[in-house]
Amino acid sequence: MKGIRNILALALAAVLLLSTLGLAAFANERVTITYSMWGDNEEVRVLQETIDKFEQEQDRIHVEIVQIDRADYVGTLNTRAVGNNLPDTGIMAEDAVLMWAEQGMLADVSNMYGEGEAKPLDSLAFTFDGKPVGYSVANEVLLLYYDRQAFVEAGVTPPPAKAEEAWDWDTFVDIAKQMTLDVNGNNAKSPDFDPNNIKRYGVMLCPDFWQLEVWSVSNGGAWYDAEGNVTIGEPAAMEALQRIADLYLVHHVAPQYGTNTATNVDQDLVNKSTAMYVNGQWSVGVWLGPAKNSDGLDYGVGVLPYMKDKVTLNTGGVNVAFATSKHPAEAMEWLKWYAREENAWGLIEGGIWMPVLSSYYTDEALTRKWVENPNFPPYDEYKTAVVDYAFNNAKPTSWYWVNNTNLFNDALSSILAPAWSGNTTVAEAITAHLDQLKAANQGN
């Protein structure tokens, strides 16, 4: 009995010794870093192919994927932070970047790109204390999608694809009225129009709350100033939001804001429950391209209408290196390599991501390489309505430089609920709760 025990103990010790030696030998040659991401198994498969390519090009860095559910993404990273078990690098939700930067959890990436190297667009850098803490992995802008067939049938001019031809707000409302139909086929300009029985709305807005900021900016206002102070109480910012509420309350051309709880842009366009839809560029890859291929949806894309300034917002999930990483140099090398367009080509080609390097917006050969594929609307339309629009007219969403936007948006979204249903006005609602909005901006 004792003999067996001794042998067992010896064997265990030998295994331990060997594995330690093995690890040490391995570590000298190759560093393993982790990259966390949200996405389904298909996206993991695409990413793994990309990583395989990275590992073929060099043999010092091995990248392991940490797949986390989108809905619990930041929460899961939090838990890992508590357990001192953060990945080395990862994608990060836009509204959490500054909070993590403020706590010193993100590495400063200002030296990631050297002098003269092709860099992402400036509007895609998240900054804290004047230093970049991450670049968006993709560009995204807000656009106006529409059902081309519906416009042809109605004999109405579809949304313009060029920023210089963008509709002013009154024209937009007028067109939306012409495209809104009740069950008897009367449009919203007809005296017989029945606002209680609408079959197809002129326009719908994605209920992702942060998108509303674009209208305040378009009206010459802003939710925050350059220092991140709350400016939503100023008339221009509030007036724009009232105009959004009035699309439903006054003009009957859109459902009450935030109501399309169970549907997406493709379903609403395929079902013909709306003629136009405001949402981000990712809709092309996630919904509209697939709907074009499977349901034959003939969709078009145009620039947003404007109030004072012809403007859209840009955003995009961020790749960050965590400050806790033991291999910061390798982490940044991977991120920089991964940010090159050719390495995320599947997502760009599919229409989910827009490139981040400026050359794709200015060099026609590169633009054609990106845009000419069956998921997209015709090249000429997409080129001016999306590529040029994103390059010339896009401003960053406020979370690129303002902290606590999630707290602020939770508060504002709750405060504005009675304004969407017309129980109060936007100005009354915001003015009455301005202190709470300012407190939310401060993290309380």
């Binding site: 959490a96 979204s413 709750s414 969407w420 129980n423 407190a439």
Partner: protein, 306 residues
């Protein structure tokens, strides 16, 4: 008067010792999985701490002061959670009892009906809320189409502050198949003899229900009310599906569990979320206590015990 303690027999002592040993696993489980975490939640609520802060900062009861005096969501959250729970508890207990009594009769295809009423309970919540979302849709939903046919105005079931809570409560009532099963088991145990005797004496259905069924069922009703109350106070699924984070959120969706989740895991304020959950725990505890105290005199046990 001196009380002489009877010395327990060796057998009894042995059994007592054995019982204590058998209780150890349960005791350990409760201690490490319930009481200690509860205590640590309370301790954490006295600090300022986001998971990514290097060190928690002791701030006494400031989280509670902020919650009760400054938080714009807290009182709304309390109100909607309590109203929702009360509506749901009353609704689902009445509905389940009624359905159980129907299913308890000797009707053709009873097994099939039992299965049908139980099905909503086992459908994934996501699917249930998506489908009800379509039914409730103000512009294109079936219910509103019916209302229009009847000449009524459209109702924003999921977007009008008047309707949100009752609409959500109705979904919860519809899914209360588990209560039906418990009621059915209870109804099976009501002795037939009393019903037969009452029938011979010419008692109406209603009289038999009030004087026989209800007293016999009272402990089961109490159990179902308790179960349903605790479960429904913790409602969170409709908020996650219809409101979510960074979506447009009407205040009626800010249930306590959702507020807790959003504060802790979306907005990173773990210690503040601990304060919310501790207050929430006390609230559920109070409701349970009131229920136990209030029910003492109306519960009926056949054995005569209480």
């Amino acid at each position: 008067m001196a009380v002489t303690r009877v010395k327990p027999s060796a057998m009894a002592r042995h059994e007592a010792r054995l019982a204590k040993i058998y209780l150890i696993p349960a005791f350990l489980g409760l201690t490490f999985l319930t009481y200690l975490p509860l205590l640590s939640v309370f301790v954490l609520s006295l600090f300022k701490w986001t998971a990514i802060m290097p060190k928690p900062l002791y701030i006494g009861f400031n989280n509670y002061i902020r919650l009760f005096t400054k938080d714009m969501f807290f009182w709304t959250s309390m109100r909607v959670t309590i109203i929702y729970a009360l509506l749901t508890v009353v609704g689902s207990v009445l509905y389940s009892l009624a359905v159980a009594m129907l299913l308890n009769r000797s009707i053709r295809g009873r097994g099939l009906f039992r299965a049908i009423f139980y099905v909503p309970y086992i459908i994934p919540a996501m699917a249930i809320y998506m489908i009800w979302g379509l039914l409730y849709n103000k512009d294109f939903g079936v219910i509103n189409a019916l209302l229009v046919q009847l000449g009524q105005p459209r109702a924003g079931f999921l977007i009008d502050s008047k309707y949100i809570i009752p609409s959500l409560a109705l979904i919860a009532v519809w899914t209360s198949g588990n209560l039906i099963v418990i009621f059915l088991a209870g109804l099976g145990s009501v002795p037939r003899v009393y019903h037969e005797a009452a029938e011979i004496d010419g008692a109406t259905f209603w009289k038999r229900f009030v004087h026989i069924t209800l007293p016999f069922m009272s402990p089961i009703i109490f159990y179902n009310v308790l179960l349903s109350l605790i479960a429904n106070m913790q409602v969170v699924v409709p908020s996650l599906i219809y409101a979510g984070s960074n979506r447009t959120t009407y205040p009626e969706y800010t249930f306590m569990s959702f507020l807790m989740y959003r504060t802790g895991f979306i907005n990173n304020e773990l210690s503040y979320a601990s304060a919310i959950s501790f207050v929430f725990f006390v609230l559920i505890g109070l409701f349970t206590l009131v229920l136990f105290k209030g029910s003492k005199n109306i519960l009926f046990y056949e054995s005569g015990g209480n």
